[in-house]
Amino acid sequence: MTGYPPDTASLGLRESHTFDRATIAGIQRAAATGIYDVRGGGAKRRLPHFDDLLFLGASMSRYPLEGYRERCATDVVLGDRNARYPLHLAIPVTIAGMSFGALSAQAKEALGRGASEVGTSTTTGDGGMTPEERGQSKHLVYQYLPSRYGMNPTDLRKADAIEVVLGQGAKPGGGGMLLGQKISGRVAQMRTLPAGIDQRSACRHPDWTGPDDLAIKILELREITDWEKPIYVKIGASRTYYDVKLAVASGADVVVVDGMQGGTAATQDVFIEHVGIPTLAAIPQAVQALRELGLHRKVQLIVSGGIRTGADVAKAMALGADAVAIGTAALIALGDNDPRHADEYAGIGSAAGFYDDYQDGRDPAGITTQDPELAARLDPAEGGRRLANYLRVLTMEAQTIARACGKSHVRNLEPEDLVALTIEAAAMARVPLAGTSWIPGQGGAP
């Protein structure tokens, strides 16, 4: 958090890479409290990521499109394989599922407003659908989670799509957790649990196991909603190649792959940092699976986990995604980690730019809280405008890159437009190391 005192080296002080200060603080904290660290956010360690890729702009061998003049479309249709009413979104950036409970009702409403303003979708989360977000969301995806908290068929029928959640990138194989301080009366009532207790969300669905069962579950969801709504399947990135194949075999219309940088509301730090694979490594696996099934672009792929800029959007799409989803960045757009709360962050032992105690419920920005006074700090209309601005910027940035690569639709970006800066990124993303034609590991097993 604080910078190095400038003279540590001259004092003969040398920080260990193995036992760096964060590691030492972690051991000290564990020794003092006897409980592991639970926090929000995604993996903080340095990982091969979109920053390790670059685009090859057009010049002689390819020709670019005129910025601001020549059309570069951004729309995307999701879930047209089986559903009578697929989603048609204006931009390929969607808002990921974040629960009411983790977030305040105002924050959920703001997400709905922002997304609707630019013609994209938002997603419910563990804990059910609130009228605030349904009311303000033009396209609302309803999550169907293992806990089934707040799950009811009336809301299911109100949804525009259904997302069967198997896992999250931050914690593939893990269930959820909402600590007592965030279980307000309303949250408790929606989840049918006593207020104030620490709530666990199951890690497995209660009434199906494995792809054969999931096929029947998806069939049931289609039957209940009269085959109107697209069915998504969301998986945390781990054995992505196989998981995507099985999700598609189970009938998914859309597969959502969330890499390990993906945010969470509350998970053990050890889980966030050590389970799952980076987003960059997951995308080519997912695309390969879809291609082999002959279903790339027919079953759409949504990628999430660490999307921050239009460049990230463009890179994910160039690798074969049809759309992306954002969580953390959307919260930041609403006002999360805003320096104007510096004093209050300090008061709860954090700092603007570092705040990740989403589990704790004392968010000075009023986003990851159920405290009515804190939550009232976020004006949903203002938050929605900020999010819409940010989504517009992401879209324009992605278009800028797509035009530079000569594409009239951002979806037409392709791996051929990319090179990697590091050998790791080249191997994971399956694009050549910049300046070479070398793709490490090409031809190996997935």
Binding site: N152, P153, P206, D207, D213, I216, L219, E220, E223, D226
Partner: protein, 264 residues
């Protein structure tokens, strides 16, 4: 259960374990044939899709389903006070998410009967497979025979009455509602249970984490008698409430604490 060859379609012929009960069919019940106020669907002649779309926008109040052939999602998502009689065995998620209908299966059912039921009554004359009544928020599920494992898993307000036994890991993380078992309960009963109440007449295998036997007080005897009566079981003699034991949460795992780590 045989995997579906094509997840996009319902093909009863590929579904394992289905016994066809066609012998007693006297008249041909084509797609929604109507006799004396009851609309009949013969699932050997029409599809679950046709049945369910009628049940979701009903033109009658009483329905009969013939030759269900173990098909999945029969009468799933009904949200009107209809009467549906299924004459034979049903597959997975029969009467799933039921909201208000009275559904009777004159046979046995596969996994997840009445899963996430909101209201209404689902009665199974035979046995039920896994996860019967899973996550149900309301209504009454009666299984006259026995139910397999995970009966009442994650239940959230539903009442379940089982005439026979239930399998292991039943009422796992059960949040609310009541589970009545006239026979025995398998291992791990009520693991990590919240506020649901369990009544077992026979032997309960091992109890799951945080599930304990509790005193059966008069108010419990009264609610048990009510539930048995609603299920069609006279709460006297061998089925008198005093023959049951009550189980519920010790509420020791409601808050995370390191000394509980062995229990998690």
């Amino acid at each position: 259960m045989a995997p579906l060859s094509d997840p996009g379609t319902v093909d009863p012929a590929t579904v394992g374990g289905a016994a066809v009960e066609a012998a007693t069919l006297t008249e041909s019940a084509a797609d929604g044939a109507r006799t004396a106020g009851t609309v009949t669907f013969d699932l050997a002649a029409t599809t679950v899709r046709a049945l369910n779309s009628e049940l979701h926008a009903p033109s009658a109040t009483s329905y009969e389903v013939l030759r269900p052939q173990g098909a999945h999602a029969i009468a799933a998502g009904v949200h009107a006070p209809l009467t549906v009689d299924i004459r034979g065995h049903a597959g997975y998620y029969c009467a799933g998410m039921n909201d208000g209908a009275t559904v009777t299966v004159h046979g046995s059912v596969g996994t997840g009967v009445a899963e996430n039921m909101m209201s209404g009554v689902v009665r199974v004359r035979g046995d039920a497979s896994q996860s019967a009544g899973a996550t149900g928020h309301g209504g009454l599920l009666v299984i006259e025979g026995s139910a397999s494992m995970r009966c009442g898993i994650s239940m959230k307000g539903i009442d379940i009455v089982v005439g026979g036994d239930i399998g292991p890991m039943s009422a796992f993380m059960a949040q609310a509602g009541r589970l009545v078992v006239c026979g025995d309960a398998g291992d791990g009963l009520g693991d990590s249970i919240y506020e649901a109440r369990i009544y077992v007449r026979g032997a309960a295998g091992g109890l799951g984490a945080d599930c304990v036997e509790k005193e059966l007080r008069p108010e419990h005897a009264a609610e048990l008698a009510e539930l048995l009566t609603a299920a069609g079981i006279e709460p006297t003699g061998a089925y008198a409430p005093t023959r049951f034991r009550r189980y519920g949460s010790a509420r020791r795992l409601y808050h995370f604490a390191t000394h509980n780590s062995a229990a998690y």
